[in-house]
């Protein structure tokens, strides 16, 4: 159940067997998969947060520019 449920948030493709050289230790491999899944999720959360911040920043900038323009227009009037 553990590995089937992994990577829902990261579009994992299960393609082929590893070309392993060392013993990956089944338990350790599954634990690493779990960790990778959580960290992979954190990557998207960070990405989303960055996008939202960028949007907010550009929105504020646009707002500030329009305010300036408005002020400029009213002063001219």
């Amino acid at each position: 159940m553990v590995d089937e449920g992994l990577f829902l948030n990261s579009a994992i493709l299960t393609s082929k067997n590893f070309l392993l050289y060392t013993d990956p230790g089944a338990g350790s491999l599954l634990w690493q998969l779990l960790l990778a899944s959580f960290i992979g999720g954190a990557f998207y959360v960070r990405l989303m947060a960055r996008r939202i911040r960028q949007r907010m920043t550009s929105f504020r900038k646009a707002e500030a520019t329009s305010d300036l323009l408005d002020t400029g227009t009213s002063q001219t009037e």
């Binding site: 159940m1 553990v2 590995d3 992994l6 990577f7 990261s10 579009a11 994992i12 493709l13 299960t14 393609s15 082929k16 067997n17 590893f18 392993l20 050289y21 060392t22 013993d23 990956p24 230790g25 089944a26 338990g27 350790s28 491999l29 599954l30 634990w31 690493q32 998969l33 960790l35 990778a36 960290i39 992979g40 954190a42 990557f43 998207y44």
Partner: protein, 478 residues
């Protein structure tokens, strides 16, 4: 002649003091790509990877030598040859102190992280990929580097790194297991399941044992039902995401390695020995220092073995005079102190946890993968230092004096500097504990006569106001 045979991409051959690596067709592309990378250039320049030269394959006569033990088809498959700098005195994890194993683990992680951004990874992560050039670790397995799938978020040697670096350090620090106990009987380190059995109930549920030992053990029990599906490759949709995951995994492993290492130098009854005024009557120590310094100036030995080095006082004097020193002691805590000081002062000292009365045996397949300590030491040193150590061998280990001197003659090609401790000496009496009658025969004259069986006496000197004597001996020609 020795060879390695596990890596399908090539093998290593030690021949007449030369270390040659032959690369198979399967490993050629990875090797060439890695050698052309910036990460490789930086690692070579900083001395983190062993100095390596490319050889003309046909000129080496390699095809005639090819790897004892390699698969039959391998010799036809060899496409490249490399020559590595020879790390003059090899050592193995079962002879290292915990701080040395930590340094080797840090180096492995440094290299794995450094080559990540250029699309390379390590295919294995074991302390046997690292040797110590004096007190500095150096990575010696060039075929460990391989191109990685940029979308793969896993580091496959993760479990091996935990087994061979993190768990041995943790077991040493928290369960009192010696590194020799772990590595002499297990090539691939300590399995989480073994560590789990050694832990109490409470420890199993506490970090770092919970994530390093218990969870992998529990997950391992469920993995049997999954069959081969566990070993399927997982790929993430974005390269950046896979790299992000790997960077965090490395950071996590580094934290765990740092938490597992011994944080403060440990003490034992021998770590404070050199600081105790009781052990050193007036002029006793300065006489020995003077005797050693005079010998170093007069005979200029190149390689010295310091037996029973304690915290390395005399090793540092020798290294300061430009001598390459291998310092051994059975007490891991004092050897740890020697390593810390040698590393901090950049001295040419390789400290090892070796008890000369039961030295490291040959290990591995057919006992031929790792030479015994005596095989490595014999003929290597032109001077051996046995200061305040013979009485321990005589009394504690009950080794006959003639045998001790015979071994010393086997280890040195030229000089032996040895201290005689009489039976009425405080330290001698502390060791005998009611067995004084066994050593009534031992006098300075008898000691001198025994020395003359294997050596010529160059000079001797009484140390301060004690009845101890120090001898400088030269090995008789065979």
């Amino acid at each position: 002649m020795a060879s390695s045979f596990r890596d399908p991409d090539g093998c290593l051959l030690t021949l007449d003091n030369r270390v040659l690596r032959f690369v198979n067709r399967s490993g050629e592309a990875n090797l060439n790509a890695f050698l052309a990378s910036e990460a490789a250039r930086t690692a070579f320049a900083s001395g983190k990877i062993v100095t390596t030269y490319r050889l003309d394959l046909n000129a080496t006569g390699a095809r005639d030598l090819i790897c004892v033990g390699a698969e039959p088809q391998a010799s036809d498959d060899i496409v490249a040859a490399l020559e590595h700098e020879r790390i003059t005195f090899q050592s193995f994890p079962y002879e290292w102190t915990p701080a040395m194993l930590f340094a080797a683990g840090s180096l492995t992680l440094d290299l794995a992280e450094a080559c990540l951004s250029e699309g390379f990874g390590l295919k294995d992560a074991t302390p046997y990929n690292v040797l110590f050039r004096s007190s500095k670790p150096v990575f010696v397995d060039l075929l460990s580097f391989e191109r990685r799938d940029p979308n793969d978020p896993l580091w496959l040697p993760y479990a091996q790194f935990v087994r061979t670096f993190v768990l041995p350090l943790l077991a040493n620090e928290q369960l009192g297991l010696g590194l020799d106990q772990i590595f002499l009987t297990r090539r691939d380190g300590l399995e989480p399941e073994e560590a789990y059995r050694l832990c109490g109930f409470a420890k199993r549920l506490r970090p770092p044992f919970l994530t390093l030992v218990s969870i992998p053990t529990w997950l391992n029990r469920t993995s049997d039902s999954k069959g081969e599906s566990v070993y399927r490759q997982r790929r993430m949709s974005h390269e950046a995401q896979a790299t992000f995951v790997l960077q965090r995994l490395f950071r996590r492993l580094r934290n765990q390695l740092e938490k597992a290492q011994p944080h403060e130098p440990k003490t034992s009854s021998w770590t404070t020995y050199m600081n105790s005024a009781e052990n050193f009557p007036p002029k006793y120590l300065s006489d020995k220092e003077e005797f050693l310094t005079k010998t170093l100036v007069e005979f200029k030995p190149r390689r010295l073995l310091d037996v029973g080095c304690n915290t390395g006082h005399f090793s540092r004097i020798a290294a300061g005079a430009g001598v390459e020193v291998v310092a051994i002691d059975q007490d891991a805590h004092v050897v740890d102190e020697v390593w810390r000081q040698a590393a901090a002062q950049n001295l040419d000292i390789l400290p090892l946890v070796v008890d000369l009365t039961r030295p490291s045996p040959a290990a591995g397949w057919r006992n031929s993968e790792h030479e015994s300590f005596l095989m490595r030491a014999e003929g290597y040193f032109d001077a051996v230092l046995m200061i305040a150590v013979v009485h321990h061998m005589l009394v504690t280990e009950r080794i006959p004096l003639s045998e001790i001197l015979r071994l010393a003659a086997q280890l040195t090609t030229d000089l032996l500097l040895i201290e005689f401790v009489p039976t009425d000496d405080l330290m001698f009496r502390r060791l005998t504990r009611g067995r004084e009658h066994l050593f009534e025969w031992l006098t300075n004259d008898i000691f001198r006569q025994a020395c003359l069986q294997e050596f010529h006496i160059i000079r001797s000197h009484q140390l301060g106001a004690t009845n101890r004597w120090i001898y400088l001996l030269r090995k008789k020609c065979q």
